[in-house]
Amino acid sequence: MKPTGKALQVRKTTEPVVRPSIGLALGGGGARGLAHILMLEVFDELGLKPAIIAGTSVGAIFGAAYASGLSARLIRAHTEEMLGQRFEIVRQLLSARAEPMLKILNILPVRAALLKPEALLEYLLPSKVARDFAGLQIPLKVVATDFYAQEQVVVGEGPLRAALAASIALPALFTPVTIDRRLLMDGGLVNPLPFDIISGEVDITVAIDVSGASMGPGKHPQPSAFAALMSSSQILQRSIVREKLKARQPDIYIDVEVDEFYVLDFHRFKRVLAAAAPAKEHLKRQLARVLSSHTAEALPAVTAEASARPPPRKRRLSSLKRLTRAGKT
């Protein structure tokens, strides 16, 4: 919650009603990322607008739609339509991917006859989504992975669809995307929760983690090899997030509990959203809390009620601790 120099200047020169700037980071996690729609609804319902959005993979897609000026309600309706009955073909396309993937790992030499992510996006995205980063109403940073350099690439300008395609290009599912002579893949390989790339530019950083919570230790069936494969990249992304949070934390961390869903369960739209409903309420409370304390800081006269409130960090830390503690067993 360190205000940037820029924000401080604003406070000095304008009325104290100025609100702190919010950076929103939407993480990667395949179908679990459908939960991001609910988080965007929170911003609409509270009448807040992020100053900047960072997104990885599915988070980049929803971030781009929102940054283009689409309301969360519109994004929800469009997504539901795309994944619903009318677009049976999309569902089949996504679920059909599972079968070639089996073959790929079954017989080693299979050529890269995979889905082009640009083509899929062209089909899936609403036409109102900007063609270029320059056309966005909210600045957006999209995370991808340079396959050969093994490092993060942040794309914040140029053609938007190519950047989004790179960010979602999960190997074995999509073909990689070349931008600026770099071969790019899914940003989740390096940064599944990209709050760190925007935290320096805003007062409050909000991170939405859809990398999936655990199902808890104890008795579970032996996973099939396919289930193990689908879950394994998720576990790795979870581990990256866990290590990342040990060194640095966002101001608001929302761990969306959608753990029972596989990466490709896009057809279970309603169920993912239902599972994420408590996270939406959590974000709403956290935002209201943090904003009231920030506004209280900015206002010369602090009301007794506001100052009596517990510091906003507490609740957030409890869920953070759960996550980081799990790594120390």
Binding site: N106, F147, G216
Partner: protein, 279 residues
Amino acid sequence: MSAPGPRIGLALGGGSARGFAHVLMLEAFDELGVKPAVIAGTSMGAICGAAYAAGLSGAELRHELIAIFGKRRQFLKRLAGKLGGGFSNLWSLRFPSVLDNVTLFEMLLPDAMRCSFDALRIPFVAIAADFYAIEQVVLDRGPLIPALAASSALPTLARPVVLDGRVLIDGGYVNPVPYDVIMDRAEITVAVDVTGDTRRRPGVKVPRTLAAVTGATQILFHSITREKLKSIAPDIFIRPEVGGFGALDYFKVQEIFHAAEPAKANLKIKLHQAITAAS
């Protein structure tokens, strides 16, 4: 017998075939006459670390590995004979199990390693990941081989191992270079990371699908380690130049040994310096 000098903790990371580089790091300890006080290992790092903790020298481990993997045809014959089926059976994802690590290790690992943790000459822990809880499990008791099998049960290649009612997979999924679990037991912590591609060849050539998948997994392992280093770092961090080898390049054992030579020399210098500085 208590050794003089600072206590050294050695963490050997996961990386499948690239982990053969650990053998040279163990040779470095032998050549300096230094014995680690505790060893932690993940996946291939667990196998090499356990072998050393069981009393094999670095040179002996080198010979064992060359005997197993040095000649591809012999290995395949041996394995196919034991499995009694075609090689494609090993890879089938239609079955819930792929490769059974426990059986494989019982077959391949030297007799000295058929023991329990408490019979080891150097305290040793192996790292595995609880598949459902998505958390780290530190294995430090009971029979050694099932623990090593769990620590290196890479999904799609090997069947998860059930220990104490927990479904365990490769420890690399939660802690690819487990130096943090032994830092409080040593004055000097040495970590050997074989997850990264240090050659960094930039390019735009589209990899074949399998190469893309294994490459992506390597990047994920690497990302965990990179993030971990931001909050906690070992005293000595060694990254042998083996990134150019594939995870499944087991039969390139000799080339991997060769590629790890500079890292071995580097480790000897750093280890000597650290011990001198500490005493």
